[in-house]
């Protein structure tokens, strides 16, 4: 089977933007087309990763709107909604479209417009993904994080400070990302003294509410050099998607994300590698605790040892396994439908040697995009072409 290559990539600045979702999608989409050297009507398929444009701003039908704005007719279009992992699911759909032979050129654009809503309103839109028996108790995604963080710290005897160090690390990485919402370092005292949001987690343990968009262009590897004559492309060597329980309290071990375990096993097998072969990773640090859980469930570290890796600097940009060189969701921001696409954008930049001051030595990179509280997950592995 011909593998699938990524030959174009872009992302808008993340943060508080004046643009609405349609404009954000068009901005990233046009830039990715330009990066790949193609026009909209060259596309066979056009996917949009988006969780809630209807709920946030009353704009539905975004794929067709984007096809209009990019003159991409008659491309087949579809919206991919998998909550916070809509971006990863979009990568999966785009990969499928090319790998199956249904499309010779596919573009994926992920985007969300959120900041015009209050934090309370945005939190409720996101919490609406929960089961009715959870929603009626006023549960939010941050409260799931607080519940899990308390259990993790208790079970694995991890210090509260270790969670804070995830925020410190990712903010430091974000300084060098021109697209990041926050390009400012924070120190540990600031994190630990910030207001409590979901005890024991505090404000700086959480990602912000964000507007933004990111885009990728896919084609068969056999023709990748037509779009990237300098060989500046990446190949999807492995990809896997999986789900865990919708009801979070039904999980046998609340500190394990089964969807991360299962999706990564598929991705590793497809790529013919193991976790030790990954050079750089983008994890879904919507909350600091998630970086521990995913780094363990992806097999990078033993269960209950992820916090030690952060303490020892293993996941720093100059460590043995740099995690979230982009600044992660924590610093870069989390425009729901865009995040999974932007994770792959960062890995694309890393394995093609175009990450600028964030560059690490990387031939193989992994992105893990999580929806809900681990309810649905896509893990993607990229290899550089050179």
């Amino acid at each position: 089977m011909d593998r699938v290559a990524i030959v174009g990539a872009s992302m808008t600045p993340f943060g508080q933007r004046d643009a609405w979702v349609r404009e954000l999608l068009a901005e990233a989409g046009a830039a990715a087309l330009d990066d790949a050297g193609v026009d909209g009507d060259d596309l066979d398929h056009l996917y949009v990763s988006n969780m809630a444009s209807g709920e946030f701003e009353g704009q539905t039908g975004v794929p067709n709107a984007l096809a209009h704005d990019l003159a991409a007719q008659p491309a087949y279009t579809a919206r991919i909604d998998q909550t916070s992992s809509s971006g990863g699911a979009g990568v999966y759909a785009a990969w499928q479209s090319v790998a199956s032979g249904a499309s010779d050129l596919t573009m994926l654009v992920g985007g969300e417009k959120m900041t015009h809503r209050t934090t309370s309103e945005a939190t409720d839109v996101i919490a609406s993904l929960t089961h009715p028996v959870e929603y009626k108790h006023g549960v939010t995604l941050p409260s799931f994080a607080g519940l899990t963080a308390r259990l993790y710290l208790d079970e694995y005897d991890a210090p509260r400070e270790s969670l804070g160090k995830v925020a410190v690390k990712n903010h430091k990485n974000g300084v060098d990302n021109p697209h990041a919402q926050f390009r400012k370092e924070v120190d540990l005292d600031t994190v630990l003294d910030s207001p409590i949001v979901a005890d024991p987690l505090r404000l700086y343990d959480f990602c912000p509410i964000t507007d933004g968009s990111a885009a990728l262009v896919f084609c068969p590897e056999s023709v990748a050099e037509e779009y990237a004559p300098d060989g500046n492309y990446a190949v999807i060597s492995g990809i896997g998607g999986a789900t865990d329980t919708h009801v979070v309290h039904e999980r046998a071990d609340p500190t394990t994300m089964g969807g991360v375990v299962d999706s990564s096993e598929v991705a590793y097998e497809m790529a013919g590698i193991g976790p030790d072969d990954v050079d750089v990773a983008e994890l879904h640090d919507m909350f600091t605790i998630l970086e521990f859980l995913q780094s363990e469930d992806l097999g990078f570290f033993e269960k209950g040892e992820g916090w030690k890796a952060v303490e020892e600097g293993v996941t720093d940009r100059d460590g043995d396994l740099p995690i979230n060189t982009s600044g992660g969701l924590k610093s870069k921001g989390h425009p729901l439908g865009a995040s999974g696409v932007a994770q792959v954008y960062e890995i694309f930049q890393q394995v093609t040697g175009n990450a600028g001051p964030r560059q690490v030595e990387a031939d193989t990179g992994l992105a893990c995009n999580v929806g809900g509280f681990g309810n649905c997950v896509t893990t993607t592995i990229l290899e550089g072409s050179q």
């Binding site: 309370s120 409720d124 108790h137 519940l147 409590i196 979901a198 609340p254």
Partner: protein
Amino acid sequence: MSDTESGETGAGDEPTFEAAEYADGTVTYPPHTVGPNGSERVGTVDLREREARVVTWTTSTATPPGVREPNTLAIVEFEMGDGYDGPPVRALGQIAPRDGADGGGEDGDGEDAEQFDVEIGDRVEPVYADELREPGAGIREPESQGWDGFRFRPV
């Protein structure tokens, strides 16, 4: 979507805390349309009379519209007896206010209603509340689900 907790009543007037029992002996809360491993549902277990232990808890200080603030939540695991060897039966729920009020939402408890303190491992029991959050204040359609349910208070 129906909310099976409040859809039936037990021996008294109080709704049941309904979990489902399946042919393979597994009990789940909430009930599933299809049981684990495809097992057929064969009965109902009322969790109302059972004690549970706190697996973990948090106090949320940034709550959505219509939800009390702060909102202490816990995942609890029910004591199912020596004869049960299925997976743990757990629930996520609010911790009850100290004043015993069973009303819900911002109006029912009063925003300043103090909630019980709990720690991991504490024994708790369910206590019925006729409204856990204010229907219609959030994004979900009020008629799409029930809004009553069971909080937990220390034994």
